[in-house]
Symmetry: C2
């Protein structure tokens, strides 16, 4: 990166670390995976192809978490990314309603799979039901993400149930990206239900194993599941058996593993939320995931100067469809968050 | 499967095993992976995202096998399947010349990525240079596969060099699927070279680790490599780090590991080739990979009867673009090949 116009995507910050850099960039847990995924883990001796749909024992274990489900409802994928890609390749064409701001890969994946994204702007980080109702009739699907990256917000149960009702009535798919389902501060997770629902999930955030790339999709629509399996037969075949075995091990971790992590996330959330408020920034209180998404005046100059002069990485809101804001991940140690906040305050002072 | 018309794709035989079934179906080694991939293998403790392009140490190790290469020329993928899928998604549109018979996923992947397959019929299992020259001018790429699945044939050095020369002149890509490069009986492997070359490869066949799903592509065209990386950033992110670590370990296996396997493959090749000849079938002598592709009268009836009455699985040639033939994989123990040959002979007797 040489000039401010090089700030084109999160990938410009890849490999920027060390040398006193504090990165609020990367969207992944810094906490350790469950013990049994690491030290005690044994690689199976039979490394021949597995079922394209995924290992039955893993799908069986997952089916315990989903109401009225069985092994046929799941396809294990190379992370949630591949699940999303396969879902929209299976749909082939049509419009998809995308709440904006959105996870930055959504528009790219939709366009590259032949779908057409249309947008509904969030109201204070939540779906605007009036606008949703106006636009959903034209669509083949709505893609929701609660808890949301980048907003850190969750949708209310009322909204989720209203979306369930309307999409069911219209025969529109809900694609629900729930990769942050185990990082919610305000209530229990609510699993969206219905014949039109396709859920996308992952072991990455819950078990801190992003690099192993194991995710999955769930659907009650057997015809749709079969379309996805048929695609995956040709595009990547089974998801890594060793990764799936690690996911099976991860699911054996006690509930206390997740609870302990949630406690840490909550403390960090409180720290960064208060810190940014005290600096005078306008932001929503995060209710899930590990992102804050404050409004910033001159966000491009801020992200550029903060990196160049203060060694702090943040992501431009425009990459997520929200040019007035900046995204900060708080997947960082307490001291780093505190030091980062100090540098942000200094940077903003110097921009006045 | 209830009737002969259910013979629609190799997937109809998935899960058919045990109960005395002999399967000449599955295209994967039955031999064991290198020892160091299994018992001594330790899972890394940091499971955070890796580089989309793949682990640098693995790309560095691979670059030693490719003339005038460096780490920038490689992208590590979820098997050769994902490499092919990404390559053609990156090309976006255009015609691709495909020698027929072909690996059965090729037409599917080409159509689903927006490419148009056009075919050149092989002559005795080898590329017909006259037909190739007639058709290549209209194409964006040719997709070659030597050693070939399903034919077991390899192209001559003269043909490969002529294809190199013509595609270079026309600015057409060669996509060279070389997953069987370490299973060649007739000569050393020849690595196709040139600015227009994109090589697809895998650890699956060489190291008997199909289910781990680690493959890669190589290209000297940095712009093309970057397009693939950009796509993979959104469609699946890094290939499983644990799979990549296993691939790094596999590459430490001594050359004797590969030589020993090749010796076994050659014995099996000789056994099945002679066996089918003795039965009176018309087939090419396999020069690489582990398939034979004999002509069969009434192939649908043969595959059906052989499975129903003799408990033997074979694949229809029509799935590979060759309706007069049947594919048999000889990734089986000697005794199973012998017993399978006996049953095939009985079946053919009974069809007279």
């Amino acid at each position: 990166m040489n000039t401010i116009s090089d700030l084109t995507s999160p990938s410009v910050f890849i490999g920027k670390q060390g040398n006193g850099i504090i990165s609020f960039g990367s969207g992944q847990p810094d906490l350790p995976p469950p013990e049994n995924v690491l030290n005690k883990f044994k690689v199976r001796s039979d490394l021949r192809y597995g079922l394209i749909q995924g290992e039955e024992i893993l799908r069986d274990r997952l089916s315990e978490e989903y109401t009225a489900s069985n092994v046929n409802n799941f396809v294990i994928t190379n992370g949630a990314s591949e699940a999303l890609d396969l879902i929209f390749r299976a749909m082939e064409d049509g419009k998809v309603l995308v709440p904006r701001p959105y996870y930055y890969s959504y528009p790219f994946i939709l366009k590259r799979t032949g779908m057409e994204p249309i947008y509904t702007d969030l109201n204070k980080g939540r779906i605007d039901l009036a606008d949703f109702k106006k636009k959903i009739g034209d669509c083949k699907a709505i893609l929701i993400n609660s808890p949301s990256n980048p907003t850190g917000r969750i949708e209310s149960l009322e909204t989720l149930k209203e979306i369930e009702r309307i999409t069911e009535e219209l025969g529109v798919y809900i694609v629900s990206d729930e990769v942050y389902k185990d990082i919610i501060y305000e209530r229990e997770n609510y699993l969206i239900q219905g014949d039109q629902v396709i859920t996308v999930n992952s072991f990455s955030k819950t078990y801190a194993m992003c690099g192993v790339r194991v995710g999955y999709l769930w659907s009650a629509d057997q015809g749709f599941v079969n379309k996805v399996i048929n695609l995956k037969t040709h595009t990547s075949m089974n998801t890594s058996l060793v990764g799936q075995d690690m996911a099976i091990e991860a699911m054996k971790a006690p509930r206390s593993y997740i609870d302990k992590q949630l406690k840490i996330w909550r403390k960090r959330r409180d720290l960064i939320y208060k810190g940014l408020k005290d600096i005078g920034l306008d932001l929503w209180k995060p209710e899930g995931a590990f992102y804050v998404f404050p409004r910033i005046e001159k966000p491009r100059q801020f992200v550029w100067k903060l990196y160049q002069d203060y060694n702090v990485i943040t992501y431009l809101g425009e990459w997520f469809g929200s040019p007035q804001r900046v995204r900060l991940s708080y997947a960082l140690k307490r001291e780093e968050i505190e030091e980062g906040l100090n540098r942000i305050e200094d940077c903003l002072e110097n921009m006045k």
